[in-house]
Symmetry: C2
Subunit: 357 residues, 2 copies
Amino acid sequence: MSQAGTSGGGFQLTEALRDSPFMRACRREQVPYTPVWLMRQAGRYMKEYRDVRARYSFLEMCKQPEVASEVTVYAAHRLGVDAAIIFADILLIIEPMGLDLEFAKGEGPVIHNPVRTAADVDRVREVEDVSALDYVYEAVRITRRELRHDIPLIGFCGAPFTLASYICEGGGSKNYLHTKRLMYTDPGAWHALMSKIARALSQYLNAQVEAGAQAVQIFDSWVGALSPDDYREYVLPHTREVIEGVTPGVPVIHFGTNTATLLELMKEAGGDVIGLDWRVRLDEAWARLGDVAVQGNFDSVALFTTPEVVRRRAKDVLDRAANRPGHIFNLGHGILPETPVENVVALVEAVHELSAR
Amino acid sequence: MSQAGTSGGGFQLTEALRDSPFMRACRREQVPYTPVWLMRQAGRYMKEYRDVRARYSFLEMCKQPEVASEVTVYAAHRLGVDAAIIFADILLIIEPMGLDLEFAKGEGPVIHNPVRTAADVDRVREVEDVSALDYVYEAVRITRRELRHDIPLIGFCGAPFTLASYICEGGGSKNYLHTKRLMYTDPGAWHALMSKIARALSQYLNAQVEAGAQAVQIFDSWVGALSPDDYREYVLPHTREVIEGVTPGVPVIHFGTNTATLLELMKEAGGDVIGLDWRVRLDEAWARLGDVAVQGNFDSVALFTTPEVVRRRAKDVLDRAANRPGHIFNLGHGILPETPVENVVALVEAVHELSAR
């Protein structure tokens, strides 16, 4: 079987990748130990990342494939995790949609032309093809070459709601006022916006798969701001469209935070693996979800303690998973910038040791 | 029966207050219509409030009983709600504990000497008596006199966890890093801090009751940052202590946000009424809770729409409550500063009309 991503013919897997603990867990097969990777594992908490970051702006890092690949590969090898995730940002896709994106210093993302009305929605461009993001696929290709041959590489995108929330708010938000106002007062415009986003996303994910990603994750990081009824009406059909458009055979991880009341609906929208934050008990959430794999659910903030506390709390998560096939260990959300690296390393080691079958 | 609060002898109720829809709902008795009040109903969204606020700093407003009373009474009468809540701030109690509190312009609360270590906890003062907050009790007395005689007045405090989070972080927070670090790495110091807070709170609530409040609400606004197991271990005993210390017969409303996985534990900690944010379906959450009253669960952000949308969404909440005795209509969290007043008025009217038995 050819190296994944070199054929240009969709999704192919080497044996080493297909049999890796991460890919086996996505398929809910038996594993020798619980695979673990960590959201934002290539990030500011790591000195080597900060050294690279000092030389480039955040967007430059995303857009220079060698740089994006370097931090991706370094973090995965340094931590000894069971999967890498391509270094990129969920907002890159909104640039070809005509949104004016900037990462302002210390402020996070700013979108200078936010979408607030039906007329604004009309002005959002349909992404006819996703070649504007060629730099991401090139980073995937380089990373797949440089990464240990048995470590799967995860591609990703933001989910339609989370992207729409940035597009409507013009950046991050606490209350999602503009987003919900559009949603509640002009459902037609809302659905039109979500459709434009969704159509771009499947293409974008599949281009990452074709370039060499073995799995994809859909980040609906802020969807927990919604009630279940709003999720069902305003979000679910669009997320489903994205997931149904992913190349068959590629595992999809469907992730959100603050989703305790949305989990069944997220499963209904789709995904082979459902992300769990730290607010749910893993066993209870998994019982509600049924026949699907799960990823999570260690509290990122518990990494600000000691290796002993980290180990004890990792054991709590593993005990609730009880070696049931289909658990990928991860944080409930991303690694925070000031996290001590030694505790992250201790976490990965603890998961591998404590979960060895 | 004497006017509540004038006797100095604890909790007494006039007939008009005892039979008010709000008090009946707290006791899960039949009501002529669903009572409604709104968290932060006396707030910045209201022009009359801003006019008063322009003349005083926020802390000055809290500490001048006539001013605090004026905004409390005005908002309740203007909106036609079924209960008033005394204008004050959950952080006032931390001043007599030796914390240096400031409301910095545009930044929210700042505590200049945050608590991060066991030695810091030792320096936190036990509040021997709560007379430092006499200005609150005086505001309650004035308000009870000025308020319509059949409108109950709610006293309140922050819950131990939410107060501890401000004390540890030195202000508001996104990730509760310092709070959780203390909790996870030095449980002894954590419990000592929570105990000091809890001991102050029951006294504080009872002094408000004695001054004329008919019910009390405990705001655990940020407790949703915790997992159920952490809540049980680090929070529940302390909240229970506060609630058990409240004068018998006084209804206690136990409120939090983001608590979908904590509701049963919050009920275990205590309260006659459990607050529900907008992320849970009211009927499902109530079924889980069982024999207790509930308060909520309208999404505050839906007030940024039109009176028609507000009315339709109010009906959704009321339909799920299905006239079961023991529902107090409220928002899932407080009214946001830019909320259009006409939509707030429309909400109160809609609740009264649509719920008339």
